[in-house]
């Protein structure tokens, strides 16, 4: 009996070896020169950031609805996946799109922390082209840039806040309280604001940090004493933004202290749910649905026809990402065989205008764009939208700092928010420190 048992094991082992000879692990090929190009799209359509993630997907869909599916002779097909706003899921979905579907192009995701994981994965897949229209993680175009992961219409978290910090001082604000989401995006946002605000000599009297998915903001808002500061800077995302802005109004802070929001705090997909609580509030961002420009207006109209909603930045960014990719493909005549060359072409694209405004990438891969000071107003149908109060053209991710000095510092985090930096005026492009009084 023992003999029979061991012989069956032996038989199976032989079978395994035969099977083993049939197929061996291999690597993936690039997009090639002809045939169909397969694109995988990742955004969160469930979870805390679902509202924004669905808009992102809609913007992407809209581009391919309005434009031909064949670019430079190559048919474009795409599939979408839900990352639920979660790191592990996002990474798993990226693997699935690339390794199971055989997608040659990967688009997304939405959240900064998920994008760091996707970027790390893409660095191990040099034949896959990554498009990043939304996730704004600073380091993806600063210290941890990945060659084949390009900010096609994307932005850096800290870019609008760096303008905001400078502007806040110009308004005469001297003491600020910050309330930011406690993960990469919020930390980079607060870092940007604090860095430029304190360069002028502004004081940060209190820093509050709320984890992503905080359901009740009352304990944070109760710590904001309007007498102790001149202005409050808030950077939140998704459903958190709705909660914090509603609370802001309910706690009576709206009439007692000015608020400056990050783009995502007063974002179109979210101000819909805020009602009157949002009206009149100001924020800095690289998109404004109310921007008086033919490209933005055309996009608004097309989006409204399709989805009966005013488009959000997520929609515009994903739309621009598709436009950016199509333009690069036209430029190479449909050739994607050399991924390194193709990503260079992607990095060289200059959009003279888009639904966000003019855009191009700097030598680090950071997007240079217009930053808008926006204010929530009501349109003729009584819907909330962001109108433009002021435009700041061609804002670089390094703002008024020398790139090499800026990059010598770590990325903004809870440990480094730029409060005591720069120590020398040499760090500024002009070589002079910004004014300390006005």
């Amino acid at each position: 009996m023992r003999h029979r048992r061991s012989s069956s094991v032996l038989l199976l082992a032989v079978l395994a070896l035969v099977l083993a000879a049939c197929h061996s692990p291999g690597s993936r090929s690039s997009g090639g020169k002809s045939g169909t190009i397969k694109i995988g799209f990742i955004s969160p359509v469930t979870g805390t950031t679902a509202a924004s993630g669905i808009e992102m997907l809609n913007g992407w869909k809209l581009y391919w609805k309005l434009n031909p599916n064949t670019v430079a002779g190559r048919k474009i097909t795409w599939t979408s996946e839900d990352d639920a706003g979660d790191l592990n899921t996002g990474l798993q979905k990226a693997r699935k799109l690339v390794e199971q579907n055989g997608d040659q192009v990967l688009v997304g995701p939405l959240l900064a922390n998920v994008s760091y994981a996707v970027a790390q994965y893409l660095s191990t897949q040099p034949n896959v082209v990554g498009l990043n229209p939304v996730a704004s993680a600073d380091d993806l175009s600063q210290r941890k840039a990945v060659k084949n992961y390009v900010r096609t219409g994307g932005w850096q978290s800290s870019t609008p806040p760096q303008v905001a910090g400078d502007w806040a001082w110009q308004q005469g604000y001297r003491r600020a309280i910050t309330l930011c989401q406690d993960y990469a995006f919020g930390q980079e946002s607060c870092g940007g604001f604090i860095n430029t605000f304190t360069d002028h000599g502004g004081k940060i009297v209190k820093q509050l940090w709320a984890p992503l998915g905080t359901t009740d903001y009352s304990s944070y808002l109760a710590q904001i004493n309007p007498k102790s500061a001149d202005v409050v800077y808030i950077a939140t995302v998704g459903a958190d933004s709705v909660r914090v802005i509603k609370g802001w109004s309910q706690f009576g802070l709206k009439s007692r202290i000015p608020l400056i929001g990050q783009e995502t705090t007063l974002e179109q997909s979210l101000i819909r749910a805020m009602g009157d609580a949002a009206v009149g509030l100001q924020s800095f961002g690289h998109y404004a649905e109310g921007r008086d420009d033919p490209m933005t207006q055309q996009f608004d109209t097309a989006y409204e026809q399709e989805y009966h909603l005013i488009p959000s930045y997520y929609a515009c960014a994903a739309y621009t990402g598709a436009q950016w990719f199509a333009q690069a493909l036209q430029q190479t005549g449909g050739d994607m065989s050399d991924v390194a060359h193709f990503t260079d072409v992607l990095r060289g694209i200059k959009l003279t205008d888009s639904c966000m405004g003019p855009m191009h990438l700097d030598s680090n891969g950071g997007n240079v764009f217009n930053v808008y000071l926006r204010q929530v107003a009501k349109d003729s149908q009584g819907r909330n939208y962001n109108k433009v109060l002021k435009s700041f053209p061609d804002i670089s991710q390094f703002y008024w700092y020398k790139p090499e000095a800026f990059l010598a510092q770590p990325v903004y985090s809870r440990q480094y928010l730029g409060e005591n930096w720069p120590t020398s005026c040499d760090a500024y492009v002009t070589g002079k420190c910004p004014s300390q009084s006005q």
Partner: protein
């Protein structure tokens, strides 16, 4: 009580040979997998293996010890975070970091000690609270854990950096762990544990130190959960709060119930179904969480002893009966059902028959 009991004579030999043959077939399939399919399925299988180990660690507590836990992801998270912190903040070599991280899971002793005085629903509540505290620390103690960013930069062992090598590494580690767990549940200690599951109140007067046995079981299960946490961290190259969240604990428990409580194979069947639906079916079905929920409901309604139990009753037992081995068939039928019915039905666990002395 007779699950896995061995009968002498030719009947045992035949069923034993069949079982061994089945095991060999499964092992051969697992070993040849990287040669049969692409990298995606191999990475899914890797995930299925360490999630299965995680479910098995819960099964060890719940299925064998009667201690249903909802905090096991917290214990595996201690190891995962430990590894990530030792590697990225202290720059320790991987081997040292792994040993140190596993040593940290002995912290499970502390968590276990807090929960030891309770059983049944109350044990569930205490472990749930402990898991949430660990999750809270992971999410809020930003300077150490990186908060929602998680900790990036966890490396795989140098010899297992490529996906298929990492798969073999995982397979070897998990196989070793399963062998160890099989030894544990078949040892006198494992039998005592089952005794405690059946009647905690009687084991004390019989001269067993119930609390100590439960505590040791908690620590042993914690170490295996820790190993799965380490494998997860090295697979993803990062560790984040979502791996510690209540959902991760509940998923593990559900996998264990789905596969079959009180069985060694059940955990892996459960994790296989779970991984398949979350990663593969989700591409074709937007409402995949509904499908998963439906499967759980069906299992609870019609097969409380899980997929493995259902297999034993509906396929394995009739086969044995046809082969003229009615006695063996009855054993197979009852083995898993006995455990499941004790845990998942009847009077609320921890009340009446199990809790107090009789």
């Amino acid at each position: 009580m007779t699950a896995g009991g061995r009968l002498p004579g030719p009947r045992w030999r035949l069923t034993g040979a069949l079982k061994l043959g089945g095991l060999a077939l499964v092992l051969a399939l697992l070993v040849s997998l990287p040669f049969l399919t692409g990298s995606f399925y191999v990475s899914l299988a890797t995930q299925g293996l360490y999630l299965g180990l995680f479910a098995l660690s819960i099964n060890l507590l719940a299925g064998y010890g009667g201690m249903i836990t909802l905090g096991q992801a917290g214990v595996s998270g201690i190891a995962g975070y430990g590894l990530a912190i030792f590697l990225t903040r202290f720059n320790w070599p991987l081997g040292v970091a792994i040993v140190a991280a596993l040593a940290l899971t002995v912290a499970a002793a502390f968590l276990g000690a807090l929960a030891m005085r309770t059983s049944g629903v109350y044990f569930l509540m205490v472990t749930l609270a402990e898991g949430m505290v660990i999750w809270g620390i992971a999410q809020r103690w930003n300077t150490v854990t990186g908060g929602d960013n998680g900790i990036r930069g966890v490396t795989r062992p140098g010899f297992a950096s490529v996906y298929w090598k990492y798969y073999y590494f995982t397979l070897a580690v998990v196989a070793l762990c399963v062998a160890l767990i099989a030894l544990v549940v078949r040892s006198p200690f494992g039998l005592t544990l089952r005794g405690i599951r059946e009647s905690e109140g009687r084991m004390g007067p019989l001269g067993y130190n119930v609390a100590l046995h439960k505590l040791v079981a908690f620590v042993v299960a914690g170490v295996f959960a820790g190993v799965s946490g380490l494998l997860l961290a090295m697979d993803n190259n990062f560790f984040s709060p979502s791996s510690v969240h209540l959902k991760a604990s509940a998923d593990g428990l559900l996998m264990s119930i789905l596969g079959g409580m009180g069985t060694l194979t059940g955990a892996f069947v459960g994790s296989g179904v779970f991984v398949f639906i979350t990663n593969y079916v989700s591409g074709y079905l937007t409402r995949w969480p509904t499908l998963l929920g439906l499967i759980f409901v069906l299992v609870i309604l019609f097969a409380r002893d899980g997929i493995v139990g259902a297999w034993n009753r509906w396929v394995w037992a009739p086969l044995l009966r046809r082969a003229g081995q009615a006695e063996e068939a009855e054993l197979a039928k009852e083995a898993a059902r006995e455990v499941a019915s004790g845990l998942l039905s009847g009077p609320p666990a921890g009340v009446g028959t199990k809790g107090g002395p009789q």
